[in-house]
């Protein structure tokens, strides 16, 4: 168990360094982007004087390194800075990044969690069944259906679902524009179609990996042995193959969970779901640096943590990794 603890601590330390490097890269790339907040907000009606006034007020006239150091200095003590844009419904004339991100993040996590609760077990079961009945009609049908669903662009899947399940058959909401005071059940009902879309686009990869990982093990001698002993196929797959297949499966699940948090901006746009992906895209196009940095850090942290969990699963399920030479 100690080995795991050491690994976890080491990885967390590395994670912090990764976050730091990510923030530097984001800052650097952002400086390369033409334009700044003032020009983006004023659009076609920008004049040199109004732009200069904006830059003075937001401190955009300071050198990039100075701005970055000021920002990262704040982050170290838990202050993520303020959005460049003025007050919203939050009162006052400032929008702290943390307050801006919090409700969006919770929306995103809620959507991701709901989609994962449906998608992960579904993918595992389908994968196991496909491995069990490999090369049967069932296997082929599942294969074709899932491949078709992942090879269709997300927004197109969303449109089709919207057409059939919201417009033709008015079962679900077409818009998922929830707000902080939406009741829980309505929230759930409103995200039905986004969840379905995400399930359709994520199940295939996890299911295929489950199937492949298990089939891969079926050729190994210990499975052969079990088969010769007359253990029924179902038992072989669940009790003999699966425990050793967890590492690659966990890895793919982690990747897909990270995708559910980080990569759903298109689903958010189509269903007008106020998630963090849309916040980041808006902030990028408006050059709202503190918000972009805040979102990027959250995304990076999500990715790092999920990968860590996947690796721990791999270690725990594989004694050889648990006790490295």
């Amino acid at each position: 168990m100690n080995a795991i603890l050491v690994t976890v601590l080491k990885r967390l330390g590395l994670g912090v360094i990764t976050l730091f490097v990510v923030s530097i890269i984001i800052s650097f790339v952002f400086e390369l982007l033409p334009g700044d907040f003032a020009k983006a907000i004023l659009g076609q009606s920008a004049t040199p004087e109004t732009v200069a006034a904006f830059q003075r007020e937001k401190g955009l006239d300071r050198p990039p390194v100075e701005r970055y150091l000021k920002w990262i200095g704040g982050v170290v003590v838990g202050d993520f800075g303020e959005s460049y844009s003025g007050a919203g419904s939050l009162g006052g004339s400032k929008r702290p990044v943390a307050k801006l991100i919090a409700p969006r993040l919770s929306n995103t996590l809620f959507l991701a969690a709901t989609a994962a609760i449906v998608a992960v077990p579904l993918a595992l079961v389908l994968g196991l069944l496909a491995a069990l009945y490999r090369n049967s009609l069932f296997d082929r049908v599942v294969n074709v259906v899932t491949l078709t669903s992942i090879s269709t662009p997300e927004f197109f899947v969303a449109y089709i679902l919207m057409l059939f399940l919201a417009v033709k058959l008015p079962w679900f909401y077409a818009l998922a524009n929830v707000s902080s005071d939406t009741p829980f059940l309505e929230h759930l009902a409103r995200i039905a179609l986004p969840v379905l879309t995400l399930v359709l686009v994520t199940v295939a990869q996890m299911m295929r990996m489950t199937r492949a990982a298990i089939i891969n093990l079926l050729a190994s001698p210990y499975i052969e042995m079990a088969r010769l002993k007359g253990v029924p196929p179902r038992r072989i797959i669940v009790h003999h193959a699966l425990p050793n297949a967890w590492a690659p499966i966990a890895n793919v699940i982690a990747l897909n969970l990270a995708y559910l948090v980080v990569g759903v901006v298109i689903v958010e746009v189509v269903f007008t779901y106020p998630g963090i992906g849309q916040l980041m895209v808006d902030a990028v196009s408006k050059r709202d640096m503190p918000v972009v940095q805040g979102c990027a850090l959250i995304f990076a942290a999500t990715y790092i943590l999920l990968n860590l969990v996947a690796d721990i699963v791999a270690i725990v399920t594989n004694p050889r990794l648990l006790h490295p030479r």
């Binding site: 982007l33 033409p34 334009g35 003032a38 020009k39 983006a40 907000i41 004023l42 659009g43 076609q44 009606s45 920008a46 004049t47 040199p48 004087e49 109004t50 006034a53 904006f54 003075r56 007020e57 959005s83 460049y84 844009s85 003025g86 007050a87 919203g88 419904s89 006052g92 004339s93 801006l100 409700p103 927004f155 449109y159 919207m162 057409l163 919201a166 417009v167 008015p170 909401y173 077409a174 818009l175 524009n177 707000s179 902080s180 746009v269 189509v270 269903f271 007008t272 106020p274 849309q278 916040l279 808006d282 902030a283 990028v284 196009s285 408006k286 709202d288 918000v291």
Partner: protein, 528 residues
């Protein structure tokens, strides 16, 4: 279908009782039934009540309450149109009328304007609207530290002062017969002031609805203001303005009834939406126009014959038909919409004519031409597709247009005013002077053609201070002719505001000055 159309016209008072009944009888209806039907629709008096959900095509998490930075309908519709008032407003016929102002009078040959406020005006918090507030609201956009998009608009205002609690006097640096139009701009709502300073981020205004709740880029909720100064208005009890950027999602939400009104209907599928019996389309030709401006200081666009060759090489009819599905009027390289006072349609009309284009190329000493055209949908929606068509049209004239698709992001900053030829968009201005001064006058910050024509500039100033209508009309005709002949702008089309709503909503004439019924849909519409 036809009957529906007639009913609609009757609602709007566009057909008389007799015309309506005559028509209805031809469809096989009895006279009595037609009579009842007419009185039912024509007497559609505005009714109070209901919760209207309005879907706009814009909205971003970085939107702000500050009117100097209202960027698009995501903020304009809820926070100006519904929640605020300016001194004046433009009505459905394009005339400027008082809003908070009861009267406005020019003095000193239009160099000075005197506005008198209505009596008994209050802000949402009960405070009186005074001349002090008006002065502070204007000054907010004017100082050296102003971050307002309206700053250049108010550059001609030399000085504002109060004359008692209800009178405001604007002194301008030159005569301007159109100043009341400028006062109707959505950037300049009147806000409550304290010690001569307004809180631009405040949510207390004077408009038809009071602030409830706002999540930037998601939705804004507003409640009816019971003390509104326009009697009986507004009609809705409550409204929610929802930002739905995706075309298909907006249409679907209208069809499912989750939204009652949507802006920027998807033209691609409009003819199909029209078939839906519960949906009504509104369409007005606005002042807005889509252009491909060339920098007249940059070769080869510095040659007027090259400019004219390019003007003849575009088949605008084809673009209007295919890119805008007929919901746009082909341009003639005059940026003034036909509905605007003193507008003309200068000759010769730039109809598609590859031979004439070749002729002008020849006059420029060329037999063929290769030019870059930078486009992005930020320039205008359809700029890329229109560019593809233009490219095909121009081939017949020996002109090779190299289409460059620029990123949407940062377009106004990187491409516009910088690349020799690009796509751009003007939502239009209600007067010729305003439009020309903003975009075509020498030295104007947004002179996207870098055009400088001495005669034009001289006429522009002269016409602005001219109070004689006939003389003014003559000057404006020449001004438009000059832009048409010599200018560097290719006006592709004037776009229509195409919007759709559920038949549960009713409305009067739709104003053409901005989208969403002059942005004032919330106070002007009602539930039938």
């Amino acid at each position: 279908m036809e009957l529906e159309k007639m009913k609609h016209l009757a609602t709007k008072g566009k057909v008389s009782r007799r015309e309506f009944i005559q028509f209805a009888v031809t469809t096989g209806m009895t006279i009595a039934a037609a009579q009842t039907m007419f009185s039912k629709v024509a007497k559609a008096e505005p009714k109070r009540g209901g919760f209207a959900r309005i879907g706009v095509a814009h909205g971003s998490t970085s939107d702000t309450m500050d009117p100097g930075n209202y960027l698009d309908t995501g903020t304009q519709v809820p926070f100006w149109g519904a929640m605020s008032n300016s001194l004046t407003e433009v009505d459905a016929k394009g005339n400027v009328v008082g809003d908070l102002a009861e009267s406005m009078e020019p003095a000193d040959d239009g160099k000075s304007w005197v506005f008198k406020l209505r009596k008994g005006l209050t802000f949402h918090d009960g405070k009186d609207v005074t001349s002090e507030d008006v002065v502070a609201s204007f000054r907010y956009h004017m100082g050296a530290d102003s971050k307002s998009a309206a700053k250049s608009l108010l550059e001609a205002v030399a000085d504002i002062k109060t004359d008692g609690k209800e009178t405001v006097i604007f002194n301008l640096s030159g005569g301007n017969a159109d100043f009341p139009y400028i006062a109707s701009d959505y950037h300049i709502p009147i806000m409550p002031s304290k010690d001569g300073v307004v809180d631009a981020n405040g949510t207390v205004r004077s408009g038809a609805f009071t602030f409830e709740k706002w999540e930037p880029g998601v939705s804004a909720k507003l409640k009816r203001n019971p003390n509104y100064h326009k009697s009986g208005m507004p009609y809705f009890d409550e409204i929610e303005v929802v930002s739905v950027a995706d075309n298909a999602a907006r249409m679907n939400a209208l069809i499912t009834g989750e939204l009652h009104w949507i802006g920027r209907a998807d033209l691609k599928t409009l003819n199909l939406l029209e078939k839906n019996p519960d949906i009504q389309i509104t369409e007005v030709t606005g002042y807005g126009h889509y252009v491909y401006p060339m920098l007249t200081t940059v070769a080869p666009f510095d040659n007027v014959h090259v400019r004219q060759a390019l003007k003849y090489a575009m088949n605008r009819e084809d673009i209007a038909k295919k890119v805008f599905f007929g919901h746009a009027a082909p341009g003639n390289d005059n940026p003034i919409a036909p509905g605007i006072k003193f507008a003309t349609n200068p000759e010769p009309i730039y109809a598609y004519d590859p031979d004439k284009a070749k002729f002008h190329l020849g006059k420029a000493g060329l037999t063929s031409l290769k030019v870059d055209l930078s486009v992005a949908d930020t320039g205008f929606t359809g700029a890329v597709e229109a560019g593809v068509l233009y490219q095909e049209h121009a081939k017949a004239a020996g002109i090779d247009i190299n289409l460059i698709r620029e990123p949407n992001d940062g377009y106004w900053d990187n491409v516009w005013l910088k690349k020799g030829w690009c796509a751009s968009y003007w939502s239009g201005r209600p007067t010729i002077d305003w439009m020309m001064t903003t975009v075509y006058a020498a030295g104007a910050a947004w002179n996207e053609t870098a055009w400088s024509n001495a005669r034009f500039n001289e006429l522009l100033v002269a016409a602005r201070g001219e109070l004689d209508e006939a003389k003014r009309a003559g000057m404006y005709a020449e001004i438009q002719q000059l832009v048409h002949d010599d200018g560097g702008v290719v006006v592709v089309v004037f776009n229509n505001y195409v919007e759709a709503h559920s038949k549960k909503l009713a409305h009067g004439d739709v104003a053409p000055n901005w989208e969403a019924d002059g942005l004032k849909l919330a106070e002007r519409w009602w539930f039938a």
